[in-house]
């Protein structure tokens, strides 16, 4: 009973669900980014990796698990933010920051929704639209040649970086980790990872348009 109440009916429990799924998604992003960086090594390296994944027997179970984590993170995250909106039905006339907010923390729900929109487009372009057996590398590089797509992509990656800049340290606090020795380290690691993911994914279209399209 308590566990159901915890995960569904309590403010701290719901936040910990968001934090846990968020951390799992960071783990997924790390493996996804390291795979994607193979794009920089040319079509053969990337396509053989993509084919290896596509043929892997655990791909479907992994995708189902990943989808469950994503959906939980999104649903619980939106739920928390709708509740938070309802907790202050009358807004302030003047909104002045007290000095605690950061660009990442203040934009969390917007960067989250933006990442979701990007995710849907990404699944459509790179998974549904890609014809099995053809080069995924070519497919990806061709998409990057479409300027509005690439601009949106870069915009979304800045959003992802902002989201992570708050998400990682916030997850630590949500699980009760706040200590003069560890918190500064967590903040630095969180910031470096956020920039790393933003730049890591952001480099792909830039490389594709400059070096990749010449290959």
């Amino acid at each position: 009973m308590r566990l159901i109440k915890y995960a569904v009916g309590s403010s701290i429990g719901r936040k910990q669900v968001v934090a846990l799924t968020g951390l799992l998604l960071v783990g997924f992003l790390a493996s996804h980014l390291s795979g994607n960086l193979l794009i920089l090594f040319g079509p053969e390296a990337f396509d053989s990796y993509a084919e290896f994944l596509a043929a892997h027997p655990l791909l479907i179970p992994a995708e189902i698990g990943l989808a469950a984590v994503f959906i939980t993170h999104i649903v619980w995250g939106l739920w928390v933010s709708f509740q938070n909106r309802a907790a202050r039905p009358d807004r302030y006339e003047v909104n002045e920051n007290e000095g605690g907010r950061t660009p990442g923390s203040a934009t969390m729900k917007y960067t989250g929704v933006m990442t979701l929109i990007y995710l849907l487009i990404h699944i459509y372009t790179m998974k549904i639209q890609h014809v099995a057996g053809t080069s995924l590398w070519n497919h990806a590089v061709n998409w990057f040649e479409i300027a509005p797509y690439t601009l949106f992509y870069l915009f979304a990656m800045v959003g992802l970086g902002l989201h992570l800049s708050h998400g990682l340290k916030s997850a630590a606090q949500t699980f009760g980790i706040n200590h003069p020795r560890y918190t500064p380290v967590i903040e630095i690691v969180g910031f470096v990872l956020a920039v790393g993911f933003g730049v890591g994914f952001g480099i792909l279209p830039i490389w594709s348009l400059t070096v990749g399209s010449q290959l």
């Binding site: 566990l3 309590s10 403010s11 938070n84 202050r88 006339e93 002045e96 980790i177 706040n178």
Partner: protein, 249 residues
């Protein structure tokens, strides 16, 4: 100094409110913010109008009764200060000042700038106490407390329950308040017997009262007149997770 105030006026909980503009004239920089409001109210009474209702009691920063959001900041522009300890020298002649009540679903407006903060009392009633007879003071060494814990508990106990954390929180969450109240007892031996039930009940009541969920923006800590640290919220999160796992209900 002369100032222009835009003040939230609302007849009662069920009426619609609106901002009214008042001129505060000949205000001394040595007056406190509440004394400035007193002066405006005297003029209003002389003019046959209803004075502005606002909460206050000790006027020396210890009771947690005063409130107000002044130019968008809970307890005004200074950190570590209640509204009653804010002085007019912090403002300049000719300033426009917007004065609003604390805004949260769990703090409904009673009249003008007065809000009903009894949701905090109900949170305390649900678990923020110790059910033991204290009797006379025990022998000092009978109950050892590490110095660090007593310092941390003392810092948490500085909370005066004013609700500025809720007012400043973008989500109207009271996590800093409960964090402080749970911490001060979780850190000391007297708080141990009810430690698990206390955190579960206080968080349940917090949620039922309609406060929001903390998203770690730390606006509360910056607004808090007693500078309560968000490490108390981390402790609350830990205590809650632990109690959820170990409770037998």
């Amino acid at each position: 100094m002369n100032l222009t105030l835009r003040v939230w006026r609302q007849k009662d909980a069920s009426s619609e409110g609106q901002f009214e503009t008042y001129e505060a004239q000949d205000i001394s920089p040595d007056q406190s913010f509440l004394e400035m409001l007193d002066a405006v109210n005297e003029d209003l009474i002389v003019a046959g109008k209803a004075p502005i209702a606002f909460d206050h009691d000790c006027r020396e920063g210890i009771c947690g009764t005063c409130s107000l959001v002044i130019d968008g900041r809970a307890h005004g522009p200074d950190s570590g200060k209640t509204t009653c300890s804010l002085h007019m020298r912090r403002f300049s002649d000719g300033d426009n000042i917007v004065i609003e009540p604390f805004r949260a679903k769990a703090f409904p407006v009673v009249r003008d700038l007065v809000t009903d903060r009894s949701s905090f009392d109900r949170i305390i009633q649900s678990g923020g106490y110790i059910s033991v007879k204290t009797g006379s003071a025990v022998e000092a060494n009978a109950m050892p407390v590490p110095k660090e814990n007593s310092d941390l508990a003392m810092d948490a106990a500085a909370c005066i329950g004013c609700g500025a954390c809720v007012a400043a929180c973008p989500n109207a969450s009271a996590m800093l308040f409960i964090g402080a109240k749970v911490s001060q007892m979780a850190l000391l031996p007297q708080g141990q017997p009810e430690r698990e039930q206390r955190v579960l009940k206080m968080v349940d009541t917090h949620d039922a009262e309609g406060f929001g969920n903390c998203t770690n923006e730390y606006e509360c800590m910056k607004a808090c007149p007693k500078e309560i640290d968000v490490a108390n919220i981390a402790r609350l999160n830990r205590e809650y997770l632990k109690a959820t796992i170990t409770t037998r209900d």
